[in-house]
Amino acid sequence: MPNVNIQMLGRMLIEKRGERGIREVAAEIGVSPATLSRVERAYLPDLETFSKICQWLGINPSDVLGVGVKTPQIPKVAVHFKKEAALAPATAQALAQMVLAAHRAWLVTDGEGS
């Protein structure tokens, strides 16, 4: 199942959950109901939540992450959030841009690719 994106992940969750309650399905997946609700609304989960959801949906995480597609070099990064377990897509994209720009500007040394 190539080229699944985060929006599609949310729709797939809603479809598979069907008439079942969000609490029941969240417990089955092993995430909080609030997090599941956010992912259904196309918020970006952290990697642990993401892999649990992929497992429940029976899909390969690399289909969502686009492994094999050319992506910018990703630095080793540590991020501290306030409390959010899932991020709005616009925030996740802005954070990605900020991390990559900071890495390019301040941490890439001569001879290292960008």
Binding site: D46, K76, A78, F81, E84, L107
Partner: protein, 200 residues
């Protein structure tokens, strides 16, 4: 900060107080002196920036991170080749920035591994979170660095008014009250006072 962790490894809390003293000593400060997290970062060779400082970051990204959704993130540490850069969410208050900064420094001092990161096909940043134990450890060390036990004792001995004390140490009232509570300084003062009274 509000969550009090259940268990640390034996000796962890003492080692954090020692780290707070050691860092102050290296900065020629007394054990009870306020510690400016920006000075500490500089001393440790860690660059600290705000979102506005990031070269080439598109204005719409700044708008998202600082105005549309500022509460979803606090700080980001980007590490590569043994160097680290901390980017703070400059929409937050000064005490909160100090707390966020010292928390990130604590992760670095404790040698915690950076979280794994992936970028999705549509350009979103997807991260693994620090594990809960590492978050608890960083929170504890951050509290010790900002308000070590020596500082809490100093505040109580001098009977500093709490708002003035929070201002002096550059922390929030929440952090100050938390440190007063978890260091047990008030309890020990009361106990010492009752022992002294009973002896007279």
């Amino acid at each position: 900060m509000a969550r009090v962790p259940n268990v640390f490894n034996r000796g962890f809390k003492t080692s954090c107080e020692n780290v707070a003293r050691q860092q102050r000593r290296q900065l020629n400060l007394l054990p009870s002196d306020p510690l400016n997290p920006w000075t500490l970062a500089q001393h440790l060779g860690i660059a600290v920036h705000s979102v506005e400082d990031v070269p080439g970051l598109a204005p719409d990204c700044m708008q998202t991170l600082l105005r549309d959704d500022p509460d979803s993130w606090s700080a980001v540490t980007v590490s590569s080749g043994g160097r680290s850069v901390i980017i703070l969410n400059s929409s937050h208050s000064r005490p909160r920035l100090a707390s966020d900064l010292v928390h990130e420094i604590a992760h670095i001092l404790l040698g915690h591994s950076p979280a794994r990161v992936d970028v999705t096909e549509d350009g979103c940043l997807m991260l693994s979170m620090y594990d809960r134990n590492q978050e608890d450890e960083a929170n504890w060390l951050a509290g010790c660095l900002l308000l070590p036990r020596d500082a809490v004792v100093f505040i109580r001995r001098r009977r500093l008014e709490l708002t003035a004390a929070a201002q002096k140490y550059g922390t929030s009232m929440e952090m100050l009250n938390y440190r007063i509570r978890v260091t047990g300084v008030d309890y020990q003062f009361k106990k010492a006072l009752s022992t002294f009274s009973a002896g007279n």
